[in-house]
């Protein structure tokens, strides 16, 4: 199975400025393990690989009831395109999908999202659920950033209000909206346009944001010499220099790099230990599990192998989450091209895509098809799951865990990441471990951790980030456990930073519980 252990590191030398040709996914017919074609759009020349991403109705992820993991994707309602869901039973199906196209209304291929404003009733649910608006009086909130700004836009207007850079991209507005306004898509697109055409490319802010967005690039270098890199960030004053020079919050502790990356470990162990053409998953580990917390990746592999899955680890790059949050859409697209190409290939071999980071899974599921038009991107979206979610859908975890008992009693203060909430996954960890003896998982509430990936790393946002996180810190301290738990690596950083707790991933606990 070494074909799946291709060392993606060869691509590491490319930095943020790398250039890649557009990549088309393979055109041959894709088949499931059981022989049925998957994800085929009727009109697609390549079954299983729909032609378009960007020019179709954007498809937000809709949490399903867990019953139909392999449902026909084309029947899944798009809930954020505005038109389909909210037209109140009008005959939108009659509309020729080729008849109009939001691409290219604005110059340079920028999306025209004015139509999304049609779904807004101004109810302000988005604003009241926005953690940034709560602490930042200067931030006008998601309703302004999204439907209002877009509605006021015209073809010849090129400027986007600067306040878009204060949106942390936690995407809670998507979850809050009762009317399926494509808020985060509007924000992502507006931010991309702002950064592309209005942000000074030599400014400290731009350079800082570019560095934060391209964490993977710098992590890949640091990982060559992890001990040196770790020591360097702990040199007294090093972070202060970072703050002065680059505007990176000096009060934060830089995460340690693992001495062996996940991929190095995977290669060393000889790749997959289980072969099973009927149960394959392609693991999207993301950057953090690879460079910083390989124990999460290892837990994923062991748990999935315990359940008899063949794990593939395709070459991959950043999911794009930090790039979206900083408007670096070109970087995100370049990475997406690699990811989509490799994931489509794995899907063709019968795999579903599994991420252990909830932001990675959200990005592949929702932001990819909303923002990019890459061959096969819809297919990737349809086949992506979060790791625990996938097991809960496909395995009888309840039976597996019934009666299990952990040797040592453990209590956790669990925080559901905002991006998990958007996928309907905010209760899954608590529900999964409810019946395991010796485990106490306490949900610390529905507040945002405040870090939102790169937001809390910015010097000027640090205080606000901590203010947003205050409620979570307080609830964590009130909770019985003194170990934190969450699916999101940057939420974990914030939890650790605010409370001093160690933080684990649910997969690590699951690994213990099933004895994988």
């Amino acid at each position: 199975m070494t074909r799946h252990t291709d060392d993606g590191e060869t691509e590491e030398a490319n930095g943020p400025d790398e250039k890649r040709e557009g990549v088309d996914g393979p055109d041959e017919k894709r088949e499931d393990a059981d022989g049925s074609t998957t994800g085929a759009a009727p009109s697609s020349p390549a079954p299983g690989v729909p032609e378009a991403g960007r020019d179709e109705q954007p498809s937000i992820f809709v949490p399903d009831d867990g019953e139909v993991p392999e449902g026909t994707p084309s029947e899944r309602p798009a809930t954020d395109g505005g038109v389909e869901s909210a037209a109140g039973g009008s005959d939108s199906a009659d509309l020729d999908p080729d008849a109009y196209d939001p691409v290219d209304v604005f110059p340079g291929g920028d999306l025209d999202l004015r139509e999304g404003a049609d779904s807004c009733y101004k109810c302000t649910s988005c604003d009241t659920s926005c953690p940034v608006a709560e602490v930042d009086d200067e931030f006008p909130g998601p309703k302004f950033q999204g439907p209002e700004q877009w509605r006021l836009k015209r073809k010849d207007d090129h400027d986007i209000d600067e306040s878009i850079t204060s949106c942390s991209n936690c995407m809670r507005c998507d979850d809050a909206c009762p009317s399926s306004v494509p808020l985060s898509q509007m924000h992502n697109e507006a931010r991309g346009q702002f950064v592309e055409s209005q942000m000074e490319k030599l400014s400290r802010e731009y350079i800082r944001n570019r560095i934060l967005s391209n964490y993977r690039f710098f992590a890949s270098i640091a990982s060559k010499v992890p001990r040196l890199a770790n020591a360097a960030t702990k040199i007294p004053g090093a972070m202060k220099v970072g703050e002065k020079l680059l505007g990176i919050a000096g009060d934060r502790e830089f995460p340690d790099f693992a001495t062996q990356t996940f991929r190095e470990w995977w290669k060393a162990r000889g790749g997959a230990q289980v072969e099973n053409p009927d149960k394959r998953v392609a693991y999207f580990h993301g950057c953090y599990s690879n460079y910083n917390t390989p124990e999460v990746g290892k837990a994923m592999v062991r748990v999935y192998e315990h359940f008899g899955y063949e794990v593939m680890v395709p070459p991959q790059k950043c999911s794009g989450t930090p790039m979206f949050a900083n408007g670096m859409l070109k970087d995100a697209r370049r990475h997406a091209e690699t990811n989509v190409e490799n994931l489509v290939e794995a899907i063709g071999e019968g795999a579903d895509v599994i991420a252990s980071c909830t932001s990675c899974s959200l990005s592949l599921r929702q932001e990819y098809p909303e923002l990019f038009d890459i061959h096969g991107i819809e297919d990737v979206s349809e086949h992506t799951y979060e790791a625990l979610e996938y097991l809960r859908i496909n395995e009888d975890l309840e039976a597996e865990l019934a009666g299990t008992e952990l040797a040592d009693e453990q209590s956790f203060a669990y925080h559901a990441p905002c991006h998990a909430r958007n996928q309907g996954l905010d209760r899954q960890a608590v529900e999964t471990f409810r019946d395991v003896d010796g485990v106490e998982l306490e949900d610390v509430g529905d507040s945002c951790s405040g870090i939102s990936g790169t937001y809390g790393w910015k010097e000027e946002k640090y205080e606000k980030s901590m203010e947003i996180g205050a409620e979570m810190f307080e609830h964590m301290e009130d909770a019985e456990g003194d170990v934190g738990m969450t699916e999101c690596p940057t939420c974990a950083m914030q939890m650790e930073h605010g409370t001093g707790y160690e933080v684990e991933h649910p997969l690590q606990l699951l690994e213990d519980a099933v004895g994988a």
Partner: protein, 613 residues
């Protein structure tokens, strides 16, 4: 307070405002009287097209030539009212090639700059155009805001000494010794700015000449003077979409037909229209099929319209006129030209001139020609400069960076405020700090609202026309009370409540024709917020009389006390669902005749329900 002036202009539409501006600039002492707000009649009920003349290039070349000439003038003198969108006449496969060529030749013959583009190029410019559009003629159509245009004309007239009286219907035309010598007007809330609950007065304004610029209503004024003016009012529906599906004016290139134009107007698109003769410009049916026809037919050009959100629909009445004896059957065949009726020559009644026909694009030219005529009649020598002198606000464009940096406006708000206020932006915005956004949909700040209140008194519909506040997708649901609250700095609470009710009712009226899909949801949410959360469907605080607190506190012991309170509360309360208080019909100038009947029933039902409870 009777007054002797040079000229009284009756009618505050584009023609009347243009005439009073022209006369004032020529040094005449002029008064404009309008029965409602400025633009109350036809001007406020059009699709906002600034004609290039292309529409008339086949059927009416004289009008076409005038249009292109005035189109260029308005870009100069009214920059803050005009958006230079450009226009397309698009040809679908079933549309006649012969007509396309005729249109092209007609445009060229009228000196309208044209360019023929293929379907692909047309879709590159307007990507939502239907895939089977074959080709198009591109020409300099534009969008014009009729409200801002009239307000700017009136403002300029006032700066040159004219008096502008709105809510001042003419009740009589004074005729003495076989000549018109003035008009009698009723000031509904007294002269000057309209303030709710001010007592009404009557005034005779004596003038050396009266200009009847009341368009579709010209016959009514003529009748008061004892002359016949046979206007043939023709109604047309316009449907407002929530967003701009197109940023260019889209015309269907075929001979006359209903539903053949889409005009991008400010934040919205306006679909138009129909052409059907009616008997009475005040009272004609507004029918659902007309709205359906707009959306269905225009979806052939822009398929996205079919599923897009509709905000409201409204109807306007064209003041068509043709000389007696022409006998045209179909109103679409009646000329769009304008006619100046000198009643001295025509009816042996000197002292009054009527102007009918015409269109908004050529309003200035019409005003110039009638002003020439009036000056001649009054033996007053002065030259017209309205084609060169910019309107107030259009001297220079607003500077975006200043609005954002100095006044701290968010960029889309700065953009819209800058467009609306033009060169006045600095002065208006400088007055208020803090300056929060009051109407979020249209990006209208407190400063702009206060500026409009300064001009319009407590009339929030007049504030709306000046600012666009409440014209976005919530249709006043989230802002009419905020706008009204801005009045509270200056006016007492009952005035504020009346003003708010009046604005909210006006917003409701147009939405009645868009109650499906998303606008229905919006209307329902608005209703729940206003009726329930804000308690506006029966708030005792809206009563003029003392509140009978006993009616509330008696509880279960008090038997029927509650029914009295309910009976009282109907009097001063506007029901938030559009059922409105009985006096509303009068305020609406009769257009709400149907409403009044419906509302009457409603009130009765409500009263019955309340009484029974």
């Amino acid at each position: 307070m009777d007054q002797q002036v040079d000229v009284v202009v009756v009618g505050g539409g584009s023609t009347g405002c243009g005439v009073v501006r022209d006369l004032a600039r020529r040094g005449l002492d002029a008064v404009l009287v309008e029965k409602g707000n400025l633009t109350h009649g036809t001007t406020g009920r059009m699709h906002g097209l600034l004609h290039s003349g292309g529409r008339y290039a086949v059927s009416d070349r004289k009008s076409a030539r005038e249009c292109i000439e005035e189109n260029m003038v308005l870009r100069d003198i009214a920059g803050h009212c005009v958006e230079e969108t450009g226009g397309l006449f698009v040809k679908r496969p079933e549309d006649s090639e012969e007509y396309f060529q005729e249109k092209l030749e007609g445009c060229r013959a009228c000196d309208i700059p044209v360019e023929v583009i293929d379907g692909e190029e047309a879709r590159r410019r307007e990507p939502y155009l239907a895939r089977d559009v074959e080709k198009a003629i591109a020409l300099p159509d534009g969008a014009v805001d009729p409200f801002r245009l009239c307000v700017a004309n009136a403002a300029d007239a006032r700066e040159h000494g004219a008096r502008i009286e709105t809510h001042a219907p003419v009740t009589d035309v004074l005729v003495e010794d076989g000549a018109v010598v003035g008009v009698e007007v009723e000031h509904e809330t007294g002269p000057g700015k309209r303030v709710h609950r001010e007592p009404g007065t009557t005034e005779e304004i004596r003038a050396r000449h009266v200009v009847n610029a009341t368009g579709a209503w010209a016959g009514n004024v003529g009748e008061m003077a004892g002359v016949d003016v046979e206007v043939r009012p023709s109604k047309g529906v316009m449907t407002v979409m929530n967003t701009r599906q197109v940023d260019t004016v889209i015309n269907r290139c075929r001979p006359k037909g209903d539903a053949d134009i889409i005009v991008p107007h400010e934040t919205a698109c306006i679909l138009g229209t129909t052409d059907e003769e009616v008997d009475d410009p005040e009272d004609y049916p507004e029918e659902d099929w007309e709205v359906d026809l707009m959306i269905e037919t225009l979806s052939e050009l822009v398929p996205a319209l079919k599923d897009a959100r509709t905000l409201r629909s409204f109807w306007g009445v064209r003041p068509l006129y043709e000389p007696p004896g022409t006998g045209t059957e179909d109103p679409t065949d009646i000329t769009r030209d304008y006619f100046l009726l000198d009643h001295g020559e025509r009816d042996d009644l000197p002292g009054m001139t009527t102007i009918v026909g015409g269109k908004l694009t050529t309003y200035r030219m019409m005003a110039e020609s009638i002003s020439d005529h009036v000056c001649e009649a009054l033996d007053h020598e002065a030259t017209c400069d309205t084609a060169e002198a910019p309107l107030p606000g259009s001297e220079n464009p607003a500077r975006m960076d200043e609005l954002m940096n100095e006044f701290g406006l968010r960029s889309p708000v700065a953009r819209r405020s800058g467009q609306r206020l033009g060169s006045r932006a600095d002065d208006v915005l400088d007055e208020w700090d803090p300056n929060p956004v009051v109407c979020e949909c249209e990006g209208v700040t407190r400063a702009e609202i206060q500026d409009a209140i300064g001009e319009a008194g407590s009339d929030l519909n007049a504030v709306r026309l000046r600012t666009r506040a409440s014209m976005g997708n919530c249709q006043g649901g989230f802002c009419s009370h905020r706008i009204a609250a801005e009045l509270a700095r200056e006016y007492p609470e009952p005035v504020v409540r009346d003003a708010e009710d009046e604005l909210y009712q006006e917003r409701w009226k147009g939405q009645r024709h868009a109650l499906w899909g998303r606008q229905l949801s919006q209307a329902m949410l608005n209703h729940l917020l206003h009726a329930t959360t804000m308690n506006r469907d029966g708030d005792p605080a809206t009563l003029d009389a003392e509140v009978d607190f006993g009616a509330f506190d008696a509880g279960s012991e008090a038997g029927s006390a509650g029914s009295d309170a309910a009976g009282d509360s109907d009097a001063g309360t506007a029901a938030t669902d559009g059922g409105c208080a009985a006096d509303d019909a009068a305020i609406d100038g009769g257009r709400a005749a149907d409403d009044a009947a419906i509302d009457g029933d409603r009130e009765a039902d409500d009263a019955a329900a309340d009484g029974g409870a």
